[in-house]
Amino acid sequence: MTVTIHPSRRRFLAGAGGLAFAVLSGGGISVLRPSAQAATSTEPGVPVDAWVTIFPDDRVIIRYGAAEMGQGVSTSLPLIVAEELDADWDRVTVEQVSQDPQRLFGNPAFGGNLFSAGSTSLEGYFTALRIAGATARRVLIHTAAAAWGLPVDEVSTEPGVVVHEASGRRLRFGEIVALEEIRTDVLQVFEDDLKPREAWRLIGSGVGRRDIPGKTRGEAIYSIDVRVDGMVYAAQLLAPVEGEAPTVDNDADALSVPGVIAVVPLANSIGVVADTFEAALAGRDRLRVSWSTGSDFRSADSADELAQLAQAADDFSTEPVTWEARGDAAGALSAEGRRTVTAHYTTEHVYHAQMEPLNAVASVDHDGKGADVWVGSQSQTISLAVASHVLDTTPDRIRFHAMQMGGAFGRRTVFARDLLRDALLLSKTVGRPVKLIWTREDDVKNGWLRPATVHRLDAVLDETGRLEALRHRVASPSIMQFAFPNRWDPESRRDLLVMEGTESADYAIPNLLAEQVLVDRRSRVSAWRGIGWAPNCFARECFLDELADAAGSDPVSFRRDLLRDSPRGLEVLNKVVKMSGFGNPPEGRAHGLAFAGYKATLGAGVAEVSVTEGRLRVHRFWAAVDPGIVVHPLSYVGQVEGGIIFGLSSLLGERSTFTDGMIEQNNFYDYEILRIDAVPEIEVALVESGSPPSGGGEIGVPMTGGAVANAVRRLTGTQPRRMPFDLGDA
């Protein structure tokens, strides 16, 4: 079978601008001569549907569909294509895909949407990108062989060059694309045709990230930096409580501020538009607004919610939602005369605190039915849909400019849609491009929080001390129901974003029941780095240490037994035990251990802590991680380090609270994220099993809670049961 070719024209005029390869859904390829259709590319001559474009001057442009938010996809994804293409990496430039009308660039792990979340980019794109690169290489080889009149199997590649070793003939990629006849009648590439691992020279290598030099020179451009001719600025007075609507009592004072252009009432806010952002802020300060008072969230109180969750976790009269059931845990727990252990753990609300406050730039066309949009979004697909919906128009009228993000951590998926909507409405109203910026206070007070959770765990130990049955019950609001109503099934009520991880799939537990007790949300809830795995692994790994004690075992042996069917799990556990010298800490300190997978990525962590005068200090943290194949180790280790720091931050002090429906924190002075002086020495070991790549953005987070809590318990004799830790507990 040969690959699909379109358009039918296979001959290219010599000296044409270049050649573009587009990999189509289904694995076909199209070879296109660059034309004026390059509307969304920054480079003239690059077709919108091309993964790879090669120019006669040997430059190669590789595009990537995921969105860069710091995780390194702008390097790691193109690197995969370049590997199979055998490109000269020094001649490769990378380019973000902003929109995808033909659905060519979507993440296969996200239904073909442009969506970057949950550590899925490498997992989803790995094979597709390898095939894309290999297909492009095959076309180059066939074309060169034909030009030489040689059999294809005598021709090979070196980086950027097709070579015929026997005769010493060489054609650079750029020379090939300028040839008159391009041979596209090549066999389709299958997985078996891809480079063997030992032939890789880019994947797994130490090449630097493409985005880093610019980021050290202040040249990286985020949406908050975008400047458009005629652009004005907007600040927003947001409803103090979710669901309330404004009435403007007096906008004259605001409008009298020099530079203020307009005061625009919106559904749940007032926009103040001005020539400068400082004028917009000054105008906002002078607005007099009354708010409606009918919102149910007026009574929302985080302390009340925690109490309600605690009650729900122990209330067996309501029907829970089963997440996972193996064997008969309920039967084992209710049987007479069994040795059972029960414990509770709590996690509080936390805020994303990405460093770039939410913002968007919109420039609506004069007819109100089209727009340019610049926004940092974890999903170009969702943001484009939001924009077309807001303007009641078709997606082709939205010129979407996907911007790299100053951090995201889950905040910039659907959870940022309201701000994009409001930027569009403001631009439409004032008839000019508008940059809408939230202040840090706006960002904190309108956070979409990781919900609080209360976990009740019950276990049965058999006569030999083995874990025979485990029930992991989570009381929590549903994130899916609120944030993804389209994907929420009211029948099954399964909430991936809260429950994933409770299935404890790597542990051999013959009877397991994981279930969620749904409680109505009292705040906006969303996914946060580590998603459900962070709270769930914290609770379970604390509990396992308590069980190990009850069984007369120890943290390592108890887990080794549970990982008896998981060679990969055992490997990371043994590795972290070895590298940390687990159990032999310096005087006055203790070690704590946690095993924590994140989907197919497996990890284990050890924390070394001390507690002095009630002050917890994490001195060292070791992590062993098996992410399958590591595409870009420098990025990968950075992701794990960052995840560990993110996790430590949440357990050492992050907490959003609310009363009367209002978040009480304001800024980084009362919502404190970890500073450099609290960061431990971190050592990360990659234990590559060779499985397909399974991502790295989250894995550092879920191992932190259990490792630190277990160390604290070993040191003080008291188990922390609540994140963030209150050492009053310990």
């Binding site: 710091g70 050290t216 952002f277 605190a353 460093m355 420098l634 993110f646």
Partner: protein, 150 residues
Amino acid sequence: MIRLTVNGRAVEVEAAPDTPLLWVLRDHLGLVGTRFGCGAGMCGACTVHLDGVATFSCLTAVEDAAHQQITTIEGLSPDGSHPVQRAWVAEQTPQCGYCQSGQIMRAAALLAANPTPSRDEIVGEMSANLCRCGTYPRIIRAIERAARED
């Protein structure tokens, strides 16, 4: 009209005297490498040098900077080759990158004042700046490298 010296260049801006220097740099002068993170002197994303001293531009009224040499990330070196910038690349420090201009400006000021800081001195000085991605270990290593190699 306020006269400023930014990256060695004399400029004039139309801004109220109490306008935070941050907005003047970013919006009036287009030097967007200096970032807005908190507006409260808590994160350091807006760090610039005033006469060589690391300063929160979000808390500095533009009139107070009028008689000082203002240096932003764009002016730290002519071509991005300041020892701190080179070390930042060598250690592959940035992730999202948003806080890194501020981190680099603070590190450069530290090394100018103290070319061989101890680890405690590095950590103490850099505690003024936040990084949510968690690049802190690499920030420390990059400053140690810059001190060593310069």
